[in-house]
């Protein structure tokens, strides 16, 4: 299905020189990608992307539409597997383990790498069931009270509990857009993932809901490795510590957020953040 046969070590050796950020980042890398190429049929969507994602920090992917940032995000929990004709080459490791290894269980991977989507997509079930679904299928809760505790903790972590504590049995689809998105975040963190992927989580929300989600992301940073795709450069600047700029399927530049926004090394990055294109 994919060309994950390239071993992590050779890939790392081949492209180590191309990653200057490795040197000046003290935090250990949680996710390491080397030479990732993604094809949709004959079309190449990502060209040789190599990046280190630091642990317990927020990394944002920015870039114009169609630049491959969402594609790359979906490689990290192998959501691209569900797309017909999609092929991934190269290696992505989490804690040193290749996620495209044939021995790896994709279901287990997705429990470790949670995802929040662009449009809030709660299950058409109760708020409780939405959050409880993940722990239940993974057998994380032994008893009913265990499960309730997990749900309440997750909702609290997602700063949603106070708003919904009296109506856990009501359908999750009845919440407002911002609440729905926080419910989706609660659902993602209920299975205790290590990495949370967020694909433009605020693009369908109003500014107030967006502010709440951003605040939440900032809190979650303490416990999770977060990767967020966003079109809003202000958002990237506000919430992330590291920023990666994608353009036309190429990872153009990656670095500390401050550095990318104040002193970009690449001309294309500068043009994009100053609004010349994109």
């Amino acid at each position: 299905m994919n060309d994950a046969s390239i071993s992590a070590s050779t890939a790392a050796a081949a492209s180590a020189t191309a990653i200057p950020s490795l040197v000046d980042r003290p935090a250990p890398a949680k996710v390491v990608a080397r030479d990732v190429n993604v094809f949709y049929g004959d079309k190449q969507a990502l060209k040789s992307v190599s990046i280190d994602i630091p642990e317990r920090a927020v990394t944002s992917f920015i870039g114009p539409s169609g630049c491959g940032k969402s594609t790359f995000l979906r490689c990290i929990n192998r959501m691209n597997d569900t797309i017909e004709g999609c092929r991934v080459a190269g290696s992505i490791t989490i804690d040193g383990a290749d996620i495209y290894d044939s021995g790896l269980d994709v279901v287990e991977l997705r429990a470790r790498v949670g995802m929040v989507f662009q449009k809030p997509n709660p299950f058409p079930k109760s708020i409780f069931e939405n959050v409880a679904y993940g722990p239940r299928i993974h057998g994380l809760a032994r008893s009913k009270s265990d499960l309730e505790e997990v749900v309440v903790t997750s909702l609290k972590k997602a700063s949603l509990f106070e708003e919904v504590k009296d109506r856990l049995a009501e359908p999750g689809t009845g919440l407002s857009g911002g609440q729905q998105q926080r419910l989706c975040i609660a659902r993602a963190i209920a299975v205790s993932p290590e990495v949370i992927l967020m694909d433009e989580p605020c693009s369908a929300l109003d500014p107030i809901a967006t502010a709440k989600i951003e605040e939440l992301i900032d809190e979650l940073r303490a416990n999770f490795t977060i990767i967020i795709v966003t079109h809003s450069m202000q958002q990237a600047a506000r919430v992330s510590q590291r920023t990666a700029f994608f353009h036309l399927g190429i990872l153009v530049e990656t670095g500390d957020t401050d550095q990318i926004f104040t002193n970009p090394k690449d001309k294309r990055t500068q043009d994009y953040i100053t609004g010349r294109f994109g």
């Binding site: 929990n77 959501m79 569900t82 017909e84 279901v107 287990e108 991977l109 997705r110 429990a111 949670g114 995802m115 929040v116 989507f117 449009k119 997509n121 709660p122 299950f123 058409p124 079930k125 679904y133 993940g134 299928i137 993974h138 359908p171 689809t173 989706c184 659902r187 993602a188 209920a190 299975v191």
Partner: protein, 613 residues
């Protein structure tokens, strides 16, 4: 606000010009016209529906009531329990018909004297008329030896007479004093008023209409005769010419002439005979004096002094006739105590003779005839007798067939749809399968019947005529419908739900069964119900597997021989008896009700499954 922009650069099209206004008006007119078409189409469809339903309901009404006659029956031991066991199962085998016949003959003693009239009298009782009596006595054997009043089911024709289907009955109360000449045999009745005048006029009118019709026929034939005569003259001329110039044509022309001559002669013969009948009828209503009646004109009966006289000759104040039921006395009957009854259908055109009508009228006058709801229709199987035929056999047959169909087609159909939609790789093979499923939905149903015959009956040797095999065949029939509808429903579930499930680490199968399938369920159920409704109304494939057999017993399970509702309708609609016409309409109503219940259940289920996202 936009004035500046407009004035700055003139528009290419002036929206205020006459041409532009006309275009706008035309657009609105087109829209109004389209709406009118839509409304007209809906009204048209609605009118058809109302017409259809009301026609069926009106035709079905007679089937929902049933007439019985209350008789005082002697429950004598010799007939009911000849061995004197007193055991219910021995009594159940007893002869319950004989006491009923005895009781009926007791009411009309002189009819019982002669074999022919006795048989006719017995024929008024349904062949299943003893059922009620039997049940009563079997339930309580101590009744043997006593006299019971039991409602006895009337035969189909008698039943229909009371429903007014056999003939229109018009009873006119006598205004004068009537004096019969005798109590039985040939009787003459004189009325002090012209009580028979109306009837005579009525009969003369019927005769006159018949004569007019005959005269019309005669005229038509005369036109035909003229044409044939002209053709004959021409042919004769040609023949004469041919004899001189073309002898080869002579034999052919001779044949033509001979044929034309014989045709013309037969037409002339028709004219003569029809003319004679018409002339004879005309003498009836032109001439004065007593009017003779026969079986071709409406029947006239006089109910007087507890008896019935059939009129054979009528004039304004005097009739002569024969007694159908002897009079109790030859006394003068005062005004208002006797009746002249006109049966507008001539005796020759109906199955009940005047004699039988007279008996029934007498029974009705005695208050013995009761009409009740026809429970028998819903509690019994098919029968050769219209009054005994019920729908329960076909209803249970349909029920078992549907159960088998549902059990087989729903799981297979949904499983196939899930596999094809969610798991199957998209390649040439799945394309071929998909195309073939779509094609299967269009295969004529009778082909499935042949398939069922070949496979289930001949190869697997399953029992013929059973709901099991019917259900299997219908399952094949509805599978494509269910698969196609289920696939469409699965496809309509937003991918975000699938992604959400996969995103929290659900396996593909868990995502499908926990999230996608429940959301697709309303669509799946809709498809299933369309398929089942289709199957419920299906007749052709079931004929081939033997479900058309005449089966009296109500099936107790899917492996008992049975028929189904549409086949039952088909069978009944084919029968000539008037009683079965009403049964056919009633069976249609039952079928439609079955369908409504099924659809109602589906809608309820769908509402329960329905979720917004």
């Amino acid at each position: 606000m936009t004035d500046i922009a407009v004035s700055a650069r003139p528009r290419a099209v002036d929206l205020s010009s006459d041409a532009a206004r006309r275009r706008t008006r035309k657009r609105y007119r087109a829209e109004a016209r389209f709406r009118a078409y839509g409304i007209a189409a809906i009204l048209f469809a609605l009118a058809f529906l109302v017409f259809l339903v009301s026609d069926i309901v009106i035709k079905a009404i007679p089937a929902f009531t049933l007439n019985s006659v209350a008789l005082e029956i002697e429950a004598n031991r010799e007939d009911l329990d000849p061995q004197g066991t007193g055991q219910p199962d021995a009594i159940a085998r007893g002869d319950f018909v004989a006491p009923i016949r005895t009781a009926l003959q007791g009411i009309f003693p002189d009819a019982a004297a002669e074999r022919r009239t006795r048989q006719a009298l017995n024929g008024l009782i349904s062949s299943g008329g003893d059922e009620e009596f039997r049940k009563l006595v079997v339930a309580d054997p101590s009744l043997i030896g006593s006299k019971l009043t039991v409602p006895v089911l009337l035969s189909d024709d008698a039943d229909l007479f009371f429903k007014g289907i056999v003939t229109d009955v018009d009873a006119e109360v006598g205004r004068g004093v009537a004096t019969p000449s005798a109590v039985s045999g040939d009787v003459t009745i004189l009325s002090s008023a012209n009580d028979f005048a109306n009837s005579v006029v009525e009969i003369k009118r019927a005769l006159s209409a018949e004569a007019r019709r005959l005269r019309g026929e005669v005229e038509r034939y005369q036109g035909l005769l003229a044409t044939y005569s002209a053709a004959l003259t021409t042919a004769q001329g040609e023949l004469a010419a041919a004899r001189v110039s073309a002898p080869a044509d002579v034999p052919r022309l001779e044949g033509v002439v001979a044929k034309l001559t014989s045709d013309r002669d037969s037409i002339a013969g028709q004219i003569q005979s029809l003319g004679a009948i018409a002339a004879e009828l005309e003498t009836h209503f032109t001439g004065s004096g007593a009017e003779p009646l026969d079986e071709k004109v409406p029947s006239l009966l006089v109910q007087i002094n507890g008896g019935v006289v059939k009129v054979t000759e009528a004039s304004n104040s005097r009739i002569s006739g024969t007694t159908l039921i002897p009079l109790q006395s030859a006394n003068e009957a005062a005004a208002g105590t006797w009746e002249v009854v006109t049966l507008s259908a001539p005796e020759a055109n109906r199955k009940l003779s005047d004699q039988e009508v007279a008996w029934l009228m007498q029974l009705e006058d005695e208050g013995r005839v009761t009409s009740g709801f026809n429970w028998l229709f819903f509690t019994s199987g098919d029968s050769r007798e219209a009054e005994l035929a019920g729908i329960l056999g076909a209803l249970s047959g349909s029920f078992y067939t549907m159960i088998v169909t549902l059990i087989i087609s729903l799981p297979i159909g949904v499983a196939a749809a899930i596999y094809l939609e969610e798991f199957a790789p998209k390649n040439a093979w799945t394309d071929v399968i998909e195309v073939n499923i779509n094609n299967l939905a269009a295969v004529p149903s009778i082909i499935f019947g042949l398939l069922g015959l070949a496979i289930f009956l001949n190869f697997f040797g399953l029992p013929r005529s059973t709901p099991l095999v019917g259900g299997l065949v219908l399952a094949l029939l509805v599978l494509p419908t269910i698969i196609i509808a289920s696939r469409a429903a699965l496809k309509a579930v937003p991918p975000s739900i699938r992604e959400a499930a996969l995103g929290v680490g659900a396996s593909h199968q868990q995502a499908v069964f926990h999230h996608v399938l429940p959301l697709a369920m309303p669509g799946v159920l809709t498809g299933t119900i369309i398929g089942m409704a289709h199957a419920l109304g299906e007749t052709a494939p079931l004929l081939l597997i033997g479900m058309i057999a005449f089966i009296v017993d109500v099936p107790g399970g899917p492996t008992d021989a049975a028929t189904v509702l549409p086949v039952q309708i088909f069978l009944w609609s084919d029968l000539p008896e008037v009683g079965f016409q009403a049964k056919t309409a009633a069976a249609i109503i039952v079928l439609l009700m079955f369908l409504l219940v099924m659809n109602g259940a589906a809608i309820t289920l769908r509402k329960r499954f329905e979720r917004r996202w």
